[in-house]
């Protein structure tokens, strides 16, 4: 069996490279436990904001054929409850516990400082944050602010597939102190029902994830890989072991899955890993570093 251990940094060692992406089950300690028990090597909480957000009305999501569209409106209990939730997760997971990545979101640097200070109380293994805009100056400012306030906790900047010149932006984030890059967040999209003459989602538009996102994500990840030296947590449309291989070949050190839980249930973690192992065996690879970024070698 190939060696799947995944060393993201001196502090962060994952038993395999598969991670639960943010926003999937991430508002429930017991669902995070379920993900951990189902094979996730790390779990990410739902993006949390300073205050509770109820989220949007239904319909908030749909399978439109080539992928999913969702707009749940950042439903989350607020950062204080999230700290509680992370602790509850650790306690309930007991010996099944895996590292937890706390995802935060704010509109401006000041809020990010406050959020970082608060989420730090839960001592997450990584603080991941979603940027409101991809202006390079702002990216640097927010990253530096989170970096300073996170103390010893490593931080990851999560970039969206719509971030133009994503490689350069990732580089800015690295220079401003990011320990990892998480990529990608989905692209905006809209599903219209012609008979209703209305967008399907209550909010009009949403974000496109799942299979149709994969080639876009692979391009982003390979662009980032060429620009940075820090590890990339890759995601976007991974639902099989081969997808996972492609993402690592493009330059990801670990791989997040989200929509795959719709296609394959919580079993997705083990199924994808088994398929990935088949691939590694059939091609004679022994460990992850052999294939990470290999398309460029």
């Amino acid at each position: 069996m190939p060696d799947f251990s995944c060393r993201l940094s001196d502090q962060i060692h994952l038993k395999t490279p598969i991670i639960l992406a943010s926003g999937i089950s991430g508002n429930s300690d017991s669902l995070l436990v379920r993900a951990a028990k189902s094979g996730a090597a790390a779990v990410t909480t739902k993006s949390c904001t300073l205050k509770y957000r109820p989220g949007t009305d239904n319909p908030a999501s749909s399978d439109w054929g080539c992928g999913l569209i969702t707009n749940l409106g950042l439903t989350n209990p607020g950062v204080d409850s999230m700290v509680y939730l992370i602790n509850a997760y650790r306690q309930k997971a007991a010996e099944s516990v895996v590292p937890v990545i706390a995802n935060i979101y704010a509109d401006n640097p000041d809020e990010f400082v406050e959020l970082t200070t608060k989420i730090k109380l839960a001592q997450p293994d990584i603080i991941e944050f979603v940027l409101p805009e991809y202006d390079p100056g702002l990216v640097a400012e927010i990253t530096a602010a989170v970096r300073v306030n996170a103390g010893l906790i490593p931080i990851s900047v999560k970039l969206s597939a719509i971030c133009s010149h994503i490689g350069k932006v990732a580089r800015k984030a690295q220079d401003a102190g990011a320990d990892f890059i998480t990529a990608v967040n989905p692209v905006p999209g809209m599903v219209i029902d012609a008979y209703a003459a209305k967008p399907f989602l209550s909010q009009g538009s949403g974000w496109i994830s799942g299979p149709s996102l994969k080639p876009i994500a692979l391009k982003c990840i390979s662009d980032i890989y060429k620009e940075v030296s820090i590890p990339i947590i890759g995601m976007g449309g991974v639902s099989s072991g081969l997808d996972m291989a492609e993402m690592i070949l493009a330059g990801a050190s670990a791989v997040g899955i989200g929509s795959a839980l719709y296609y394959r249930g919580y079993e997705a973690f083990t199924k994808i890993l088994v398929e990935f192992e088949e691939f590694m065996n059939s091609e004679g690879y022994n460990n992850l570093s052999e294939i990470c970024g290999k398309i460029w070698r």
Partner: protein
């Protein structure tokens, strides 16, 4: 390696109301012009453009039928629908009831009876012996009684206020019937209704060691097993399947359910 999913469109499709059947003061059934391949116990999502989307049990598949209690925004709007009106429906979703054993005991509380007529018909076709237990607070809240009277089932009715059938809870005639079964292991209780009723029935079944399939409700958002909003905790009697570790404390109604099966 095969792709782990098929690229079929799961978007809402337009359905047209063919007939409306009044079940009681607040409940009516819509019979559509179009069919939808589905199993009893599965659910669909009905979208009223501009208003919202809510889950409903499949109450018949060919043509598609749904039984709706008018309790709020979406159900209230649907309540006004007439033949020729259109609804947007996607589905079916979730795990349906699985025919099991030679005796079937179907228990419906309030509009929880809605998927049971369809289930009864399916079970009868398989040669299974069907008992139906309908319970409600009062006679005017019972549904589908006339329909059940038309098919070969043994029908038991209870109302809390005694306005129809036996006075009391459905669990009373249910327990009597369980006691009369020749082999509880070769029978199954199928229940749909409020959470409290399901917990009660589960405990009763556990006492007699009879298999049961319970259909749960929760507030759904994504309906896709992603957001976690429909998470419920299963009763202690429910054993965690080995392929779903951790699901006992975190069971998704939209994806793991809506029906659970305890043998």
């Amino acid at each position: 390696m095969e792709k782990p999913f098929s690229m079929e469109e799961k978007k809402s499709r337009v359905f047209t109301v063919d007939k409306v059947r009044i079940e009681n003061d607040t409940t009516h059934s819509l019979i559509m012009k179009e069919p939808m391949a589905s199993e009893p116990g599965q659910f669909i999502l009905i979208w009223i453009p501009g208003l919202g989307e809510k889950p409903f049990s499949v109450a018949g598949s060919n043509p598609l039928m749904i039984t709706i209690a008018d309790v709020g925004k979406v159900s209230g709007q649907i309540d006004r629908y007439q033949p020729g009106d259109r609804l947007w429906i996607r589905g079916p979703f979730g795990q349906g009831y699985q025919p099991y054993g030679k005796d079937a005991l179907l228990v419906g509380g309030g509009y929880g009876a809605s998927p049971l007529l369809y289930l009864a018909e399916t079970l009868i076709k398989k040669g299974i012996n069907v008992h139906v237990f309908l319970g409600a607070r009062s006679a005017n809240l019972l549904i589908l009684v006339d329909e059940f009277e038309k098919i070969p089932v043994k029908l038991h009715i209870t109302t809390n206020d005694g306005t129809r059938g036996i006075q009391g809870f459905v669990t009373v005639p249910l327990e009597e019937t369980i006691q009369q079964l020749s082999d509880v292991q070769d029978a199954c209780v199928y229940a749909c209704g409020p959470k409290k009723m399901l917990y009660g029935i589960d405990a009763l079944c556990e006492r007699y060691g009879i298999p049961r399939q319970l259909s749960w409700e929760a507030i759904m958002r994504c309906g896709m097993g992603l957001c976690g909003n429909c998470k419920i905790e299963m009763p202690d009697t429910w054993e965690e399947p080995v392929n779903k570790p951790g699901s006992k404390k975190a069971w998704l109604v939209c994806k793991d359910g809506p029906t659970s099966f305890t043998k």
